[in-house]
Symmetry: C2
Subunit: 352 residues, 2 copies
DNA sequence: GTTAGCACCTAAAACGTTTTCGTTTTTAAA
DNA sequence: TTTAAAAACGAAAACGTTTTAGGTGCTAAC
């Protein structure tokens, strides 16, 4: 049986719509008798408040929009899970769109969400996004916007990120600590802030350890659908160009795994000949052999925080409270596994 | 600048709201002059039709709901991607909820979506779902509902599935064809139809090849968060119970990978000592060593088809056309890789 | 100079709520 | 019995659209 409306209840009881509405919301100026009658009939007729009408009246939909570059991706799907779990707790629904790493699509989708009048927007930018007008437009219309992971520093809104630079620094430092002298880097695309930051972290670690930075040791990856193949290809190129490399810090796990597979095929031993550190801690990284040393990126937590911040801004906006933009930096972990040498273990053995 | 309303445009031009509405929709009974004025001002004032008002009037939101057991999962996230891509094409938005394999949550979420008045619902059932009242309620309210992958046969709605039984049969047959004589099965949970079907396919293949079915060779897996550990544990148990097993058909890839890793650790060679076939073709299955022979499950295609069918039913309902429930069975592929012996290759060599 | 026809425009209802403000009815006090 | 206060109810506007049905005012034809 389809939900009834206030009108239908009112007609059956010969009272006004207003009274029905008030009765259901337990207003004090409705008699106990009427309330009982209304509540009973409401149950019988399967009354459910019409969300469309409520949205129109309240000018809010308890719905937010989420734009993400790629859904089939361990990190991003973890973020989605974090967002949805938190949204559910606060009674919000999430509309998800996928930008496919395309700036054009991203722009369209922002418009779509604005026209849909969602209460707020969460976004992780496409790699191609270099112009931020569409994002500023959102803010100009007083619609809460929170960015996560792939952010634009210049846009004045809240951001949830990890410290990519620091994580990359630690990853590179770990290679150095385990004895690597000549360290290559497979970097991500040129635009997004986080692949820039990872590159900078790598470079800084070298400098701080008096290892000269050599641009020819840096290889570019799209880090898109063909990451695995890119890893293999770069591994081959690297060996042709430089036969003295003993460590690689790689922008993302799947590329690293491609490289490992290629090296294994060529008879190069990991980590004895070359040590490798990846980034993101994809599920498969712990499962392959040798397992991959990598940076754990807390996707679920990032999603949770992103929604929390957005929710805060939505409620503050509603209550005319000031909105303070936050930049939240989440902790990352270096997970030491088999693809790097465990020198500390050796050291400990010597001490025994 | 926030979007203006028809009213604001009407006031500024000193004409009625109706005329503004018609002008924007290019009705024939509005003069060219007025249309031009309206369109210009509409652009200037950033007019965007209010979605809330439209929903209320049209009794539709161009939004569908999707309930899925788990988002961080290669197969399911592929399905989501398929659904979203198709929805975008037809101008629909997708609200995603995650049931966490919980029947209780699933029930609540169905109610949420019904109250939200989505135009239709897509669902893949939680493992624990054995009661279908909540689903029948959706249908009773004339709301289009399409199930995919994890379905309930008894619910009268459209379904998009693969032929789990046939796929499992082919997987098992492949083990037999490559010389396995004693084949174990790591099966999925007891309730969902697809893990039952995979078990049945396994059993049937044995029978058709005159291999006696031995229940003690069937091991249970939750196939949840700890699939990898389950695979390892089951591998150990299997070796203790039966030292003569030479092939295993495993309900899902991650369990299979756990088993492979454990076997490798114990010095058992894959596929020489034991051949293994998984299910679902997780990304990592092609990347590990030995790569895993598995059944490719077309997630993206399934998502596309699920939305297409739902969309068909939504539009038919709107146009008072009859709704015909479909059961669409998608093709699967057996991907032969390193975890099973390639006997045909050997045969071919002999023929040379 | 009436009338038909046309071009253009508007009023108003409807979608389903909520809430303010006013009106009616009841109760209690004078 | 009158009056004041309290209790219970309802009318109406508002949110922003669309569309039907009904005007206007004009031109052209008789």
């Amino acid at each position: 049986m389809k939900p009834a409306t206030l009108k239908q209840i009112a007609e059956q009881l010969n009272i006004s719509i207003s009274t029905v509405s008030k009765a259901l919301k337990d207003y004090p100026d409705v008699s106990k008798k009427t309330k009982d009658l209304v509540n009973e009939l409401a149950k019988d007729l399967n009354y459910k408040p019409n969300a469309f009408a409520l949205n129109l009246r309240n000018k809010e939909s308890k719905t937010i929009g989420l734009i993400i570059p790629e859904i089939v991706h361990h990190f991003f799907s973890s973020v989605i899970k974090g967002i949805i779990s938190q949204a559910e707790e606060k009674g919000y629904l999430v509309i998800i769109l996928q930008s496919n790493e395309s700036y054009e699509l991203e722009k369209k989708q922002i418009e779509l969400l604005m026209n849909q009048r969602v209460d707020g927007i969460l976004i992780s930018l496409a790699n191609g996004t270099a112009d931020y007008a569409h994002l500023n437009e959102v803010l100009a219309q007083d619609k809460p916007l929170v960015m996560f992971d792939k952010i634009a520093k210049l846009v004045r809104c809240s951001k949830i990120v990890i410290d990519d630079r620091k994580a990359a620094y630690l990853a590179t430092q770990h290679l150095i600590d385990t004895g690597c002298k000549r360290i290559a880097h497979f970097r991500g695309p040129l635009l997004p802030q986080n692949s820039i930051d990872r590159f900078l972290g790598y470079k800084k670690a070298l400098e701080d350890n008096n290892i000269p930075y050599d641009p020819s040791l840096v290889y570019l990856c799209e880090c898109g659908e063909h990451s695995f193949e890119e890893g293999k290809a770069n591994a081959q190129k690297l060996l042709q160009d430089h036969n003295d490399v003993d460590g690689i810090f790689i922008n993302t796990d799947l590329v690293a795994i491609g490289a490992i597979n290629e090296f294994k095929k060529m008879g190069i031993k990991i980590p004895e000949d070359i040590s490798i550190v990846g980034f993101s801690n994809w599920h498969m990284s712990s499962v392959i052999s040798p397992s991959l040393t990598t940076i754990d990126q807390p996707g679920f937590l990032m999603g949770k925080n992103a929604f929390k911040q957005l929710h805060l801004e939505i409620t503050n906006l509603k209550n005319n409270l000031p909105i303070v933009h936050q930049e939240i930096i989440l902790q990352t972990d270096l997970l030491k596994r088999e693809s790097t040498k465990d020198i500390t273990a050796k050291k400990n053995k010597l001490h025994l």
